[in-house]
């Protein structure tokens, strides 16, 4: 089986604006049907669209962040087709002069060694979203126009993604980037990020490359389904080719829908004739001119993007690519939090461990966010300092962080109240070591006779010492003194 998979993505992203692309009603998700409408978004006779400048600016921000070229002059076009979710029976979109061309999506490196490349973009354009049809009982359909007119970015990639995992990777990276930019919440479940994939195979046989017919996959409702559907489709196309030998020249592009339950793609009903959208310039809107000053302002509004941030975390803090990614992919808040703790402590790896193991776990358990996390970066930095200085051992630190989260009190208060000072008194610890050995003669015997591995016995004894000291003993000192005493007893 010698083939390559070739994938191109067509991604739709709803921009996060207060009002619609061309009218004033709101854009909130999940409200009762047809409550987020106005005469313009309902397409009532006589109404006219007016451009939402904020939406255009978010679109510009996105395109600039994706390295695209911004057209100094762009216009709107009407895409004409009849469908009940399209109140005017045309969609205001962009045809031959989109506001942005080119750019690229990053495909982050994966643990399996894949990724680490880029996928070029063909174009990005702005349009209005359509409404939504719900197919109900008795063959009736219901139209909800809350979504109609929400600003929608269409991002079209070049067909040059070479694996299902890469396709998923670049979609995930796009979502992360757009969330960093605060232009979209990119919830696939809510439809604010939607993706169709065009896919075929390049089969290598007898020194030749044979391309299979292109299939457009729709109904991809999660990142997981994108990856699964592409893997399924590659396998299906290969088998199909083995069966009938049809190539791209023998069959037109077809559309298949992904069934998440059955985990397979199924043919979708085709339009009998090729769609003719009869595009023409939208006469109700004026062209948009993007001057250098506007573009500059947009550029300055863009902060550090995930890709750059990962690289910086690796270079500046010496983190592994894995750790850098974990901190960055959680979103801007988490990465900012880490930046603050790392800078305040100078303990880059330690800060990363604490955040990954304790902060993120707590947030995940409580289904909350970093913004709501009661311990601010300074508080965590202070705790890490104390552990580092040897005032606390790691376990104590954990316990204290737990109390800090519960009470919102600083470490200092909790330590004073709870007697959390770590015992670093050599004599006291030496006495505890002595007592532990005396209380467990069998342990010493085991080492002497070589019955058990010495490390296991030592671990047992360390635990006994900690128990005696109420968990407060300096673990490093316990280890050192135990080691020394055993060396005397078992030469």
């Amino acid at each position: 089986m010698d083939y390559e998979i070739v994938i191109g993505l067509e991604i739709h992203v709803q921009l996060q604006t207060e009002s619609k692309m061309f009218s004033w009603s709101g854009t909130e998700f999940g409200l009762p049907p047809n409550t987020q409408t106005d005469p313009v978004s309902l397409g009532l006779p006589g109404t006219l669209p007016t451009m939402n400048r904020k939406a255009f600016e978010l679109a510009l921000k996105t395109a600039v962040a994706l390295g695209a070229e911004i057209a100094p002059f762009t216009k709107w076009d009407r895409k004409n087709y009849y469908y009940p979710d399209l109140p005017k029976n045309y969609q205001i979109s962009q045809y031959d002069l989109p506001f942005s061309k080119g750019g690229h999506l990053e495909i982050p490196p994966r643990k399996d060694g894949g990724g680490g490349t880029q996928c070029r973009l063909t174009r990005i354009h702005l349009e209005e979203d359509t409404g939504k049809l719900t197919h109900g009982y008795g063959g009736l359909s219901e139209v909800d126009l809350n979504r109609a007119g929400i600003p929608l970015l269409e991002i079209v990639s070049e067909p040059e993604i070479r694996s299902a995992a890469d396709a998923r990777g670049c979609l995930e990276e796009l979502r992360l980037t757009l969330r960093y930019l605060e232009v979209s919440d990119c919830e696939m479940q809510e439809g604010s990020l939607r993706c169709d994939a065009n896919v075929n195979l390049h089969i290598h046989k007898d020194g030749q490359t044979i391309a299979t017919p292109i299939v457009e996959i729709k109904n991809l409702n999660s990142f997981r389904s994108v990856e699964k559907a592409l893997l399924y489709e590659a396998d299906r196309q290969y088998k199909e080719w083995q069966k009938n030998g049809k190539t791209i020249k023998d069959a037109p592009k077809t559309t298949r829908g992904w069934d998440d339950d059955l985990e397979e793609t199924k043919p979708q009903r085709e339009k009998e004739t090729a769609a003719d959208y009869r595009y023409f310039p939208e006469p109700d809107l004026v062209p948009v001119v993007v001057d250098a000053a506007w573009l500059d302002r947009v550029r300055q509004s863009i902060g550090e993007l995930p890709f750059a941030r990962r690289k910086r975390f690796e270079a500046e803090y010496g983190l592994s690519p894995y750790d850098a990614n974990v901190l960055v992919e959680q979103g801007q808040d988490v990465a900012d939090y880490y930046d603050a703790v790392a800078k305040a402590t100078g303990e880059f790896k330690l800060a990363s461990n604490w955040i990954q193991q304790d902060v993120l776990r707590t947030i995940k358990e409580n289904k909350s966010t970093v913004a709501e996390f009661p311990v601010k970066p300074e508080g965590l930095a202070d705790l890490i300092h104390r552990v580092k200085r040897g005032e606390l051992n790691t376990n104590q630190g954990r316990e204290i962080l737990g109390r800090m989260i519960e009470t919102g009190e600083p470490a200092e208060t909790i330590i004073e109240k709870g007697g959390y000072k770590m015992v670093s008194d050599r004599e006291a610890i030496a006495a505890a070591v002595e007592a532990a050995i005396a209380a467990n003669p069998q342990a010493l015997e085991d080492i002497k006779k070589g019955k058990k591995k010495p490390e296991a016995v030592k671990g047992f004894l360390r635990g006994q010492v900690m128990k005696q000291t109420g968990g407060k003993a300096n673990p490093a000192m316990v280890g050192e003194l135990l080691e020394a005493r055993l060396a005397e007893l078992v030469p």
Binding site: L42, T47, Y82, V143, D276, R278, P283
Partner: protein, 494 residues
């Protein structure tokens, strides 16, 4: 009283001689009496009286009543009035009541105008005779066997017949100027972008403009001022100051240069119309204007280009009327012909609703436009027509470097007989041969009465000016109006 101008009515109301209620009562009676003219498609007497009484109360209390306080204004049936039937004289929109006011309606209300009914028109403004109406044709008040022009025939006839001193129409290819000419009233199409189109039910968005009808220029200036200006709800409305047209109207333009368009005096021009225009030229010459012949070489492509661009936009603008959420929905859309059972029920519903709801001229233009925009044809037709549009605008720009105003006939003929051109769409299209280029170029144009034919049919003089030079247009027209009395003539109605 019914044949008074708006300014005369205002004066009489201000002096306390009459109330707005008295005026509208007399006009309502008259409208009832002249019902056979078929001017109004909707006129709610109670609603009109309520508005008039409200203005009278304010005036009596000494409160400001607005520039048009208490003056009735008839409204073409394609301007949305909140809660009132607005149908574009189409079966398709029968019973449609918009939930909002057009911007011009807002402005009329703010100026204290009385919204005096909705006037008949060619369906969706497509036509030049008001015969393409689901409500039947409007009759020309000067000769009831003839058409009032169109598409704003109802609005023109309303003023001519003294049913309202002022009215609003819309002009996409001549739909204000041509009916004004053949009904013997003043009609002005403003520069594209001067008046907000928000709430104007679109025919061809890049050509449509709302404008006033009146007995004379003084009234025209008054109404134009009220409706003009930038509107944030219309992206194509232009943010330029609106002059006080009334203040400068009686000041003749200095060193006036008038251009006579060679191409506007060709084949098809009625000799009586031609001679009335020649008289007008002489009058201007006598008044001291410099007369110069100019050429608009691309104007011969105006009608063909128009009949690509306007239908193309119309095919898209009218796509929304599909019976789904408002307007006409067919009751029976079961399959009638072989093969139709394979068409989805929803699609059949849309097809039959549109087939029943639209009249033949609207269907003709939707088909023309759909074809002109189709893949493989768009370059040949639509894009070519856009090039022609730029050339036509170029012609005008060049002409307005040499002259201030262009002068010519508004319509090649006076009002034609009812039914005379309905069977021949092309002859109907040629009614707009002198008006269409102004829409393609976006420039302002005005028609004013300049005489009568031997059959006592009004003749219109058309003046065109550079973009946003409405003030020049009005002042130039006023020079002619002051020297003539055509604007004081009224038809002898029964």
């Amino acid at each position: 009283m019914s044949q008074d101008t708006a300014v005369a009515m205002l004066a009489r109301m201000e002096s306390g001689e009459v109330t707005s209620e008295e005026i509208v009562r007399s006009l309502l009676d008259r409208a009832d009496h002249e019902r056979r003219l078929n001017v109004f498609v909707h006129l709610d007497a109670d609603h009109v009286l309520d508005q008039a009484r409200a203005v009278d109360r304010r005036r009596k209390a000494g409160e400001p009543v607005g520039r048009l306080g208490g003056v009735p204004v008839a409204i073409k049936d394609l301007l949305c009035v909140r809660g009132e039937p607005t149908t574009c004289s189409s079966r398709m929109l029968k019973g449609f009541r918009p939930p909002y006011d057009a911007t011009v309606i807002d402005r009329l209300r703010n100026a204290g105008a009385i919204l005096f009914g909705k006037t008949n028109m060619d369906e969706f403004a497509m036509g030049s005779s008001t015969e393409n109406s689901a409500y039947g044709p409007t009759l020309n008040p000067w000769d009831e066997t003839r058409v009032p022009g169109g598409s704003s025939g109802g609005s023109a006839a309303a003023v001519a017949a003294g049913l309202a001193p002022l009215s609003l129409g819309s002009d996409t290819g001549g739909s204000i100027r041509q009916p004004a000419a053949v009904c013997g009233v003043v009609g002005l199409k403003p520069t594209y972008g001067r008046v907000s189109r928000y709430g104007l039910i679109a025919f061809a968005s890049s050509l449509d403009q709302i404008g006033p009808f009146a007995h004379d220029l003084t009234d025209t200036a008054l109404l134009l001022k009220v409706i003009s200006g930038r509107d944030p709800r219309d992206a194509t409305s232009v943010d330029l100051p609106v002059p006080d047209y009334s203040a400068t109207l009686d000041t003749p333009p200095e060193k006036l240069r008038i251009g006579i368009v060679r191409e506007f005096f060709g084949e098809g021009l009625d000799p009586e119309v031609a001679s009335a225009i020649q008289e007008a030229v002489k009058l201007y010459e006598k008044a001291g204007a410099t007369i110069k012949e100019v050429s608009l070489p691309h104007s011969k492509y105006g009608v063909p280009a128009y009949y690509i661009v306007a239908p193309a936009e119309c095919s898209s603008n009218l796509a929304r009327y599909d019976g789904t959420t408002y307007g006409h929905r067919a009751e029976d859309y079961s399959p009638k012909y072989p093969g139709e059972e394979n068409i989805a029920e929803l699609v059949r519903m849309m097809m039959v609703s549109r087939a029943e709801g639209f009249g033949p001229e609207v269907k003709r233009r939707i088909m023309l436009g759909t074809f002109a925009l189709s893949a493989g044809y768009a370059d040949q037709y639509y894009n070519k027509a856009l090039q022609v549009r730029r050339k036509i605008r170029g012609d005008f720009d060049a002409a307005f470097r040499e002259v201030d105003v262009l002068l010519g006939p508004t319509s090649p003929t006076p009002a034609f007989k009812l039914g005379e051109r309905t069977a021949d769409p092309l002859s109907m299209y040629l009614s707009d041969i002198y008006t269409i280029t102004a829409n393609l170029a976006g420039i302002p144009g005005l028609s004013l009465p300049c005489g009568f034919t031997s059959q006592k049919l009004p003749i219109g003089l058309q003046l065109l000016a550079a973009p946003f030079a409405e003030e020049t247009l009005l002042r130039t027209a006023r020079v002619f109006e002051r020297a003539t009395d055509w604007h004081t003539r009224r038809p002898k109605t029964a």
